[in-house]
Symmetry: C2
């Protein structure tokens, strides 16, 4: 495996470094692969539209979410490919490059 783009992963982590944005991602993952419209996200999260919009922009900048328009609605979806890269990076660092964590210990926690 080649040297990872550390700066990019750091930016992705930073984009996930706020409770609001983690909640957004969780909702979008629950609704995957359809995603959700902004209004439903707002109703679920209870945060002002402008604030929500900023959070979505930040996630979009790191490609953690994608948007598509359907009529007057914007549908946001979690970007599985990017999340896979992030998970792959963490996995590689902790379980492959280093042996700090045993792979079976990860899945175990998810039960």
């Amino acid at each position: 495996m080649k040297t990872p783009d550390v700066a990019r992963y750091a930016d992705m982590f930073a984009a996930m470094g706020s409770e609001a944005r983690v909640r957004i991602l969780r909702l979008l993952l629950s609704a995957h692969p359809n995603g959700m419209v902004v209004g439903d996200l707002q109703a679920e999260l209870g945060i002002p539209n402008s604030t929500l919009s900023h959070h979505l922009e930040k996630l979009k900048n790191e490609d953690l979410v994608s948007v598509r328009r359907d009529r007057q609605f914007l549908w946001y979806t979690a970007n599985a490919e990017t999340l896979r890269e992030l998970l792959g990076f963490l996995y590689a660092e902790c379980c492959s490059r280093s042996k700090a964590i045993r792979p079976d210990q990860i899945i175990q926690l998810a039960k």
Copy 2:
């Protein structure tokens, strides 16, 4: 699995949301489980001592690293247990609670 403490994971992500700190963690994981002394980290990373110290403090606050003193040296180590929780959280969100990512797709990237 019970509801995760989203705020805590967000803080952990935030702590990893800087290139310098990801580099620190990578070094510490490479040197796991012995860890490294601050001076060696500094030599490797080429950043001023005070700046490095701040980054280490941030990682320590989220329990991503631990410290022990040996004589005049402080040995920092990556905290495998915390990283395991973080990896477990991401895995659970993406692969268990949602099926956005297939587990075998993660490991594949690490090759």
